[in-house]
Symmetry: C2
Subunit: 566 residues, 2 copies
């Protein structure tokens, strides 16, 4: 491909609307363009990357006998009524009426469609299991679409649905998809964690999210390098290290500061985990709550909602009524409160807590003696340094981009929609389902988040739009140009995907664009080197440059590229 022909218009300046590196670089490298909020066109380079990701997905799906097909985007409202999701889904579900005022949803996911498809045709246990999937544009009317391909309103998703006769068979389909997803992430160049999103009653996971590690990720994670455990900070029940406060008898001490844990621990020369953090809440049912966690941890919003429903922080009036004083709150002597403390504190006998008096704390406060704890609960956010609940090693913290999820649905949809099969015993039973999704366009963002530097994108070979860029520095030079053309055509003949920068631009412009586009290898043909029978190969990932003879460069680059393909 000649660069002069390639439709990939670059931008010199950073687009102001782009906060994330991936958003910025995909725009600047002419890979995506915004049509409206959350709606992007994939230009030819991005489309090539997406096609490669899709090809990897198809290979992995074929290997586990999942069958590709395609259902309509317009899904009948009637199906959503049957599942109960027409009302439950809310404004994210985009709805459209046809000329006869019949309602449809633009599919955000297709559980209803697939359940409807098979409900009259998968009739016997002999036909099971079956896994069907498609790759398709999906629609979610996000309140705040943002970050380019990361959170769009129309996006490319691969979604699969499995139908089984038994829980064991579902488990098998689920495990196969899970393994395939791990392989898809890895082959696409993504370092991703398998985060347990939900644990089943019989042990083992029933839902796992594939989180690509990236600072730009929206999810807060902890993970263990030793045993592979990973979890959302909001989901993890981890081991929190707690230290005892000073003294064993209740004693009021002066703490002349602003009352933050940081200030108090500094003042008393204690680690933060020897302090106790109290937060005053009003639960959804009106209960007044004092929630207490170790001083170096935060109350996790999702865990708190789980315990208290939609809660609010206490108003000044409520604080006063309970005898609580901002900045110096504590359970000792407070009235009419339910005290809920994090389970990590259960064995601790000496708490340093606020004395409900400005400038004073209690040390040596003992639960059961000096105050009551009404409930021990999992309340604190997990964080880096906590102990892995599986192996006890220290957890690392990270942020992640959700690129995929596998989920054991069970009979939720098949029961609601009457999708049954005749089992071996002749009885009608609901199909046991699993669903499995990958955000294909979001993966492009995640890949760029993981693979870029200040100059541009650094494509992994497996998903690079092109594998090699040949850069003749002077296209009018009788020596340089034929060499560039020959190298490019030899590479193409060897099955390598090549762009030749045939533009009459200055070397600086070409180098900058080459780094911005980020194809894995650049072969620079300069006059001086060519005169000596050489060209320069730059490895975009490492930045290493190597002068190679014109005769050997093709074989060397072919070898490099082939060894890194998916």
């Amino acid at each position: 491909m000649k660069m002069s022909k390639l439709y990939a218009p670059t931008l010199k300046e950073d687009p102001t609307e782009a906060e994330l590196a991936s958003h910025r670089l995909l725009l600047r490298a002419g890979m995506i363009r915004r049509g409206a909020a959350g709606l992007y066109s994939y230009l030819p380079l991005a489309w090539r990357t997406i096609s490669k990701i899709e090809a990897i997905i198809r290979e992995e799906m074929e290997a586990i006998d999942a069958q590709e097909m395609l259902t309509p985007i317009l899904t009948d409202a009637e199906l959503w009524h049957q599942s109960g999701r027409w009302d439950a889904y809310g404004p994210e579900l985009m709805r459209v009426s046809d000329r006869h005022d019949h309602e449809f949803a633009l599919g955000p996911t297709h559980e209803e469609t697939y359940t409807d498809l098979v409900r009259n045709e998968l009739r016997s246990y002999k036909q099971l299991p079956v896994t069907l999937y498609h790759i398709q544009d999906k629609f979610r009317d996000e309140l705040r679409p943002r970050f380019g391909l990361m959170r769009g309103r129309e996006f490319i998703m691969k979604d699969a649905y499995s139908f089984s006769a038994t829980q064991e068979s579902l488990q098998e389909c689920y495990d196969q998809e899970k393994d395939a997803y791990a392989s898809i992430m890895e082959r696409s160049g993504l370092k991703a964690l398998q985060v347990v999103a939900d644990s089943g009653q019989i042990g083992g996971d029933t839902s796992v999210e594939f989180m690509a590690l990236a600072d730009a990720g929206e999810a807060d994670l902890v993970y263990c390098d030793d045993c592979g455990f990973a979890a959302d900070t909001e989901a993890a029940v981890v081991g929190i290290h707690v230290e005892e406060g000073p003294g064993s008898e209740l004693e009021k001490i002066e703490t002349p500061c602003d009352g933050t844990i940081e200030a108090v621990s500094k003042l008393l020369d204690l680690p933060e985990c020897a302090c106790r953090k109290s937060v005053a809440l009003v639960a959804e049912d009106g209960t007044l709550v004092l929630a207490i966690v170790p001083g170096d941890h935060e109350i996790n919003d999702v865990k708190a909602e789980h315990l208290f429903g939609h809660y609010d922080l206490m108003s000044d009036d409520e604080l006063e009524k309970c005898g609580l004083v901002k900045g110096f709150m504590g359970p000792v002597g407070a009235n009419g409160l339910k005290v809920v403390a994090d389970v990590s504190l259960k064995d601790s006998q000496s708490w340093l807590v606020g004395a409900n008096e400005v400038g004073f704390h209690f040390k040596g406060a003992k639960p059961g003696r000096d105050f009551q704890v009404d409930e021990w609960a999992d309340l604190a956010s997990a964080k880096e340094g906590d102990a892995c609940p599986k192996c006890g090693a220290k957890l690392k913290g990270a942020r992640g981009i959700e690129c995929g999820q596998v989920f054991q649905l069970g009979t939720k949809y098949s029961e609601a929609m009457g999708a049954t099969f005749a089992d071996e015993d002749g009885k009608e039973k609901p199909l046991i389902m699993g669903c499995y999704g990958i955000g294909v366009s979001r993966m492009v963002s995640a890949i760029v988040e993981q693979h870029h530097d200040e100059h541009g994108i650094i494509w992994p070979v497996s998903v690079a739009p092109y594998e090699v860029e040949v850069v003749p520095l002077d296209v009018n030079d009788d020596l340089v140009w034929p060499v560039a053309v020959k190298i490019a055509s030899d590479l193409v003949a060897a099955g390598i995907e090549v762009v030749v920068d045939d533009r009459k631009e200055r070397p600086g412009v070409k180098f900058n664009d080459a780094d911005l586009y980020g194809f894995p290898y650049q072969i620079v043909c300069g006059k001086k080197a060519v005169k000596n029978g050489n060209v320069e190969v730059k490895d975009r990932a490492t930045g290493e440059r190597q002068e190679l003879s014109i005769d050997e460069v093709v074989a060397m680059v072919v070898k490099q590229v082939e060894s890194q393909r998916a």
Copy 2:
């Protein structure tokens, strides 16, 4: 692939809603399922065929440097307002509002989107020409969706848009796409005509439709086997053979019959083309018209609308006012009428026409002497037997399914939307555009219409879901089953796409399903033949059966298949 695993549920009975062979067979062979009116799921077999058609399209597009990409399905209403099509498109355009009441159309075609995409980025003649395309679900809210994939409300389309600096460059892009489309049709197994839909001012065509020949087609066509000319009957200006009526002087004769051309010509022993057919109309502007065509032709509705606007047939009052008598109408002696006659009659001097009196005609009526012709116009529908306007050979008649269209748009959209470029002379000029569409899912219907018999589909190898079906007649037989498995795995190793019918069904069921699915080759493994070291190969297209030794069957079938791939 094992048939027991394949999700392709067959139907024994013909579905009542299916009128066309393709609709019926695609449903029966478990290739498509209806979600709602005009909305179909493509099941795995259909998806494999679609993927092959798409692969052919991509190859042909790559060969002419058209670049694949993907734009959103949701297209901003603002763009449609700019082009003027938001109001013009009517109820076929599906419209949806987001949570902020911002309006979008579900793209039925993407001229606006692509014009918007390039209007700020194709800025110089140096960047031109560029052709961009995508393959995508499109939406048209048809009043009467029907015939399965033939006329759906959501369908797969490939649409390309070219941007040029000059008319010559547009012509080149257009010709390249046109040639590529011809190749795509042919490689997909479709016999298609290139029908000139519109002729340009400078001669040559500016729009061509690719019509797959099929009795089920909605378009009425004439074509010439000698020179390749083809046209809609409504568009063609063809040579119509006309004979003179009897006598040269005006004479009223008795014609005791119902007055139809058939009855009159029989009564007088004349060919129908020696008679003249008169139809009385009221034009949109109120003009009373007597339209006259050769007796063996019909007035073409589209041509008549072109001449008269939205016209009506005359009421009895109007007929009486003009002195016209139903069944025996003619121009002689009629009052207050504009007489418009088909150009084919211009040289005829003796017309047999109605005498405006029940049971009587005039013979020997001469235009200019016995009545006036106010206008000679192209008014008659072309039909089989007319002369080719290009070479004079006799035309054949056919019906066609529109599978593709290429179109020179010119500057319609670029002017309306302000998409200009700086030309070599430094002046800003509107981009000169072409657009090129293929109905991918409709092609599947067209292929089945052209390739089926009473037993099922007969897939061309190039687009067959699978190329070979291996049919072991008894899967429990220790002799038969291993032979079938060996043949199948040898074929797969040779790169052939194979289904093995591993079901415990009777031979009759297997044979019927094999013919219904219609994979090009069936390898039947029966006990008797296998005992003799043979299997039977059936060519689905010809029905020919051949007993081949187990040792040679794989090589023979591989050779056959490979020679017929796209």
